[in-house]
Amino acid sequence: MNVIFNYFGDVFGAIKSLWAGMCVTGYYFIHPGQIVTQKYPENRRKLVMFERFKGEVIMPHDENNQHACTGCGICEINCPNGSIEIISKKITNPEGKPERIIDKHIYHLSMCTFCGLCIKNCPAKAIVWGQQFEHAVFNRHKLTRVLNLPRSSMKKKTKESKKL
């Protein structure tokens, strides 16, 4: 007798659990508002990427066209596949002291694996992740970028910011 009870218990238990699964999918089927897919080319104007998204390496400049890169070259050393080249030069500042500034911070997007070692190791926080991801171009050379803008200069660290 117990065997028969177990048998029908199995049958009804199976139907119950299958019905529970069908309820979940049925709920999604009749609720198109649950759709998570984004229609990409249509929504590109209002598309907001996540903060952690690694689109490309950029060098932010402030309103005075100044960046924070000291040209130390740590990013270049840390890059595992040689995507970064820094061309720096020595100048004499108005105080008469010799100073190193970057001439060109070259970033090869075509070689970058987006590992983030350069950004993690930058002592001056001069480079950050950008959110731009539409990188398709017709010529590979267009993927080689100079990150510092023309005629930009280095942001001088004030005493307050040094303390911070």
Partner: protein, 363 residues
């Protein structure tokens, strides 16, 4: 000639008589067969293509996606574009394949489903052939397709194909029993094997309502087994993409692959139409005895719409199964059939015979 969308008998007779008045009876039958064949080919292509699209849309909605939405409005022409692509693809020649069997296998599969569609009553008087053993014919013909699957697996010279074909054989031969027995329950209720007779017997209510609990059990068993019969998920072991690449049609390309694909969807349509005809009243409108007003409103909707509406509902349920349940193993499939569905079905048949004997159903 008075043509009506509620009764096609006069329309069919008019075609028959006018053909017979132009030519000898032999030629008239030949022309009728050609017309019928063309109509069914067109029907086949349209239904097959739109079922594929419907499946992709249903699956997308269940998985919180959009599905095809680029070719035409809401992706209407996606499958037509796919078909054109498949037509232009190369038919790849397989080394050491049994060429003759390899080439005829897709045709066997598609002819089997083609034969089954002939017996379906689409509306009053609108069926290609009204056999007095309609259900028996449908069961017999719908199991022919597995021969094509076995041949394709055997002749492909590919171990994946062979495993897929053998699995499909074991599965279809097992589930054939339950399909037959589930349909037999309604045959006991209605007392006829003729599909049009079964539809006529549901004029005062569908069998799933008139036959109450045992008919509902039969309906559930039939839905389960016809999902297995058509090799669809969760019983899609014969193709099992994750294990066997594509199972029996791994080596097929181009239009031969499209034949297998179309036949799978048409088999689903045919079994859903059979379920609708036998359990849900076919083209018969929804009637409740005594409610004359509602019955008249229901009669106003054309039978073809009733037939396709019911079929679409059954198809949606089968698709819902596929996109909810994970694929089960071959031993689980055979356990389900031989230890659960078949004994339950036999008990159900005995119960129905008793109920019919005592007259405990809604007459």
């Amino acid at each position: 000639m008075n043509f009506s969308i509620y009764d096609f008998t006069s329309f069919i007779n008019w075609i028959d008589n006018s053909l017979n008045s132009y030519m000898s009876p032999g030629w008239a039958i030949l022309v009728e067969l050609v017309i019928l064949g063309l109509v069914f080919i067109a029907f086949y292509a349209v239904i097959g293509l739109y079922l594929v699209l419907a499946e992709r849309k249903v699956c997308a909605l269940i998985q919180n996606r959009f599905g095809p939405n680029r070719v035409g409005p809401i992706g209407m022409f996606q499958t037509i574009a796919d078909l054109i692509k498949l037509l232009m693809k190369e038919l790849i020649y397989i080394k050491h394949a049994d060429t003759f069997l390899f080439n005829i296998a897709p045709f066997i599969v598609i002819i089997a489903s083609f034969m089954a569609i002939a017996a379906l009553p689409f509306a009053k008087g609108l069926h290609a052939i009204d056999l007095n053993i309609g259900i028996f014919y449908m069961i017999a013909v719908s199991s022919l397709g597995v021969i094509g699957i076995l041949i394709s697996g055997w002749s492909s010279n590919n171990k994946y194909s062979l495993i897929g074909a053998i699995r499909s054989g074991a599965q279809v031969i097992s589930y054939e029993l339950s399909v037959g027995l589930a349909l037999l329950s309604i045959v006991i209720f209605s007392g006829t094997l003729q599909l049009s007779g079964i539809v006529e017997s549901q004029a005062n209510g569908w069998w799933i309502i008139k036959g109450h609990i045992p008919a509902i059990i039969s309906f559930i068993i039939f839905l389960t087994t016809c999902t297995a019969e058509t090799n669809r998920g969760p019983f899609d072991l014969a193709e099992a993409e994750s294990e066997l690449t594509a199972g029996f049609h791994t080596e097929y390309s181009g239009i031969k692959f499209a034949f297998f694909f179309l036949a799978e969807y048409m088999n689903m349509f045919i079994l859903a139409a059979l379920a609708a005809t036998v359990f849900l009243g076919g083209w018969m409108p929804f009637h409740i005895a005594g409610w004359e007003g509602m019955n008249n409103v229901m009669d106003y909707i054309p039978p073809v719409i009733w037939f396709f509406g019911k079929t679409v509902v059954v198809i949606l349920i089968i698709m819902w199964f596929k996109w909810t349940f994970p694929r089960i193993r071959i031993d689980q499939i055979l356990t389900l059939e031989w230890k659960y569905l078949l004994p339950l079905n036999l008990m159900n048949i005995v119960l129905i015979a008793f109920i019919v004997l005592m007259g405990w159903y809604i007459k």
